[in-house]
């Protein structure tokens, strides 16, 4: 193994470009190797942590039976619908308070107060209100996702370049055309920061909500596995969250790259 690594390092050094691309994966692969070794050597008992091989095996088994995909679908649907509801509301209210002074005066203080309550602190009340229904999860995710989108939309609208607004007015833009041509595109970078942040938050809240009260979903699968000491299934669930979180982030990044392709800070091919 040591020999392998040494020779691998050598080729990497020879091809600088390849080394640069491979470098971020060195530590995870090393960890995986150590983990597998610890499991097969008996240092790590499988009731604490299963071997990577067992995790892969259980992943294949779960996905072959279709059980895995049912849970993934349920969780993704919950996450996305919460995101759409909460993010949509955040966007709308952010646009409103960002654009109209009276709306800010009326609503912003209330929203800023609400922001300081962690959504997860509401779980006891939410269970009381909604039981462990779908609406409980939808409510929690929406609430959590709402604030980052709202705050960044508000901030984005407020920080649109005054010079551009003035220029737009001298070119005859006003009302909706000014909004479409200057205010919205100017606020977009900030709005997307909010979207990216809330996509991360979306999974965190869903995990907790599903772990505490659910009859399906990845969180339920993981908690159910705990009852039977199926550590391999638990690890599969945890890794799924990591993958889904990463996918959500890639999606947000893709949106940034497309919508902000004019911005040199998001370098892409022209």
């Amino acid at each position: 193994m040591n020999q392998d690594q040494k020779s691998a390092m050598k080729t990497q050094l020879q091809r600088g470009n390849l080394a640069k691309r491979a470098l971020p994966w060195v530590v995870p692969i090393l960890l995986l190797i150590v983990w597998q070794w610890a499991s097969s050597a008996g240092v790590l008992p499988s009731r604490f942590l299963p071997s990577p091989r067992a995790v892969v095996h259980s992943f294949i088994e779960l996905s072959a039976s279709g059980e895995l995909w049912t849970h993934v679908r349920v969780s993704t649907l919950r996450a996305l619908s919460g995101f759409v509801v909460g993010g949509g509301l955040g966007l709308l209210l952010g646009l409103l308070t960002g654009s109209l002074r009276w709306a800010e005066t009326l609503l912003d203080t209330t929203i800023q107060m609400g922001r300081n309550i962690p959504p997860l602190a509401l779980i006891p009340l939410v269970i009381l209100w909604f039981g462990i229904d779908e609406s409980a999860k939808l409510f929690l995710v929406s609430l959590g996702v709402f604030f980052p989108v709202y705050i960044n939309t508000f901030h984005g609208i407020r920080s649109v370049d005054r010079g551009l607004l003035e220029m737009g007015r001298t070119y005859g833009l006003s009302g909706w055309s000014l909004y479409r041509e200057i205010i919205l595109p100017g606020a977009l970078p900030s709005i997307l920061v909010g979207v990216r942040f809330s996509l991360g938050l979306m999974w965190v809240i869903l995990i907790v909500a599903e772990t505490i009260s659910a009859r399906s979903g990845i969180g339920y699968m993981t908690m159910n596995a705990r009852e039977f000491m199926q550590t391999d299934v638990m690890v599969v669930g945890i890794l799924l969250y990591a993958i889904l979180g990463k996918l959500a982030d890639l999606l947000a990044k893709g949106l940034e790259r497309y919508w902000l392709r004019w911005n040199p800070a998001y370098e892409t091919a022209r």
């Binding site: 010079g163 220029m167 001298t170 070119y171 392709r261 004019w262 911005n263 040199p264 022209r270």
Partner: protein, 262 residues
């Protein structure tokens, strides 16, 4: 980057030579809070004239230009921009010190801001006039400062303005690009005949472009000098240098006698 016009183009442009409108600024006073910027300010600008407004920083020259553009409202006095035959409202365009291009629009769509989509050929033509036809599909972020200002100039010109207001548009450019841009602006002004008001802190720039130089000091006209140098003007000429010395001396408020003692 001198712009060349074919003779046919010049002829066509000359037919529109009466595009300029007169500007009358009467008794205008502007104050920001306690600070009075302009006080009982009076200036008449005949149609088609190129006027440069110079003065120290904060003398109110930009404020004057912005109020002609309608971006500031004077507390007193009137500003009237004359009417043109066949047009209800004169077209007034502003070029700012920063280009103020929309970073999320490519070059050609920037030129077409506020323009009917059908007039795309017109926009392309003007973009070619400022020498940037081949950059039509680029993002503003990829242009140099001088190129951005040329796009901003094209954006103003595509509306075929009756009055072009230039608020230190070349202030942030390097010396060479600046001279190129001055030539470009002069060429286009001569071919189109709009009225131009240029605010600048560069006396040499004012003298090489303008028919008339107005110095603002203490919120009033301190000097109103006709520049009697035939075009195209060369900066090295004795007349140019003498006039520059005179205006600069007035701006800095030093008398020639005092300077002789040094």
């Amino acid at each position: 980057m001198p712009v060349t016009f074919s003779s046919r183009e010049i002829k066509a442009e000359n037919q529109r030579c009466s595009r300029g409108v007169s500007v009358a600024i009467e008794n205008v006073s502007i104050a920001f809070g306690e600070r009075t910027v302009l006080e009982n300010f009076d200036v008449e600008i005949p149609a088609g004239e190129f006027v440069a407004i110079v003065g120290r920083s904060g003398c109110g020259k930009s404020t004057l230009l912005r109020s002609v553009a309608g971006l500031e409202t004077p507390q007193a006095g009137t500003i009237s921009v004359g009417k043109v035959a066949g047009h209800e409202k004169p077209d007034v365009r502003v070029m700012f010190q920063d280009s103020r291009l929309l970073p999320w629009r490519r070059v050609l769509p920037n030129v077409m801001l506020g323009l009917e989509p059908a007039l795309i050929a017109q926009a392309q033509k003007v973009l070619a006039q400022v020498g940037l036809a081949e950059r039509a599909n680029d993002w503003p972020a990829t242009l140099s400062g001088g190129q951005r200002q040329r796009v901003a100039l094209a954006r103003a010109l595509v509306h075929d303005p009756n009055l072009l207001l230039l608020d230190e548009p070349l202030g942030s450019l390097d010396a060479l690009t600046r001279i190129e841009m001055q030539q470009l602006i002069e060429d286009i002004w001569r071919s189109r005949g709009f009225t131009a008001m240029l605010v600048t802190h560069d006396v040499a720039e004012a003298l090489s472009l303008a028919d008339r130089v107005i110095l603002i000091e203490g919120g009033r006209v301190a000097l109103d000098e006709v520049v009697n140098i035939p075009r195209p003007r060369t900066r090295g000429s004795a007349r140019f240098a003498a006039l520059e010395e005179r205006v600069l001396g007035r701006v800095l408020q030093r008398r020639p006698a005092v300077e002789d003692q040094w």
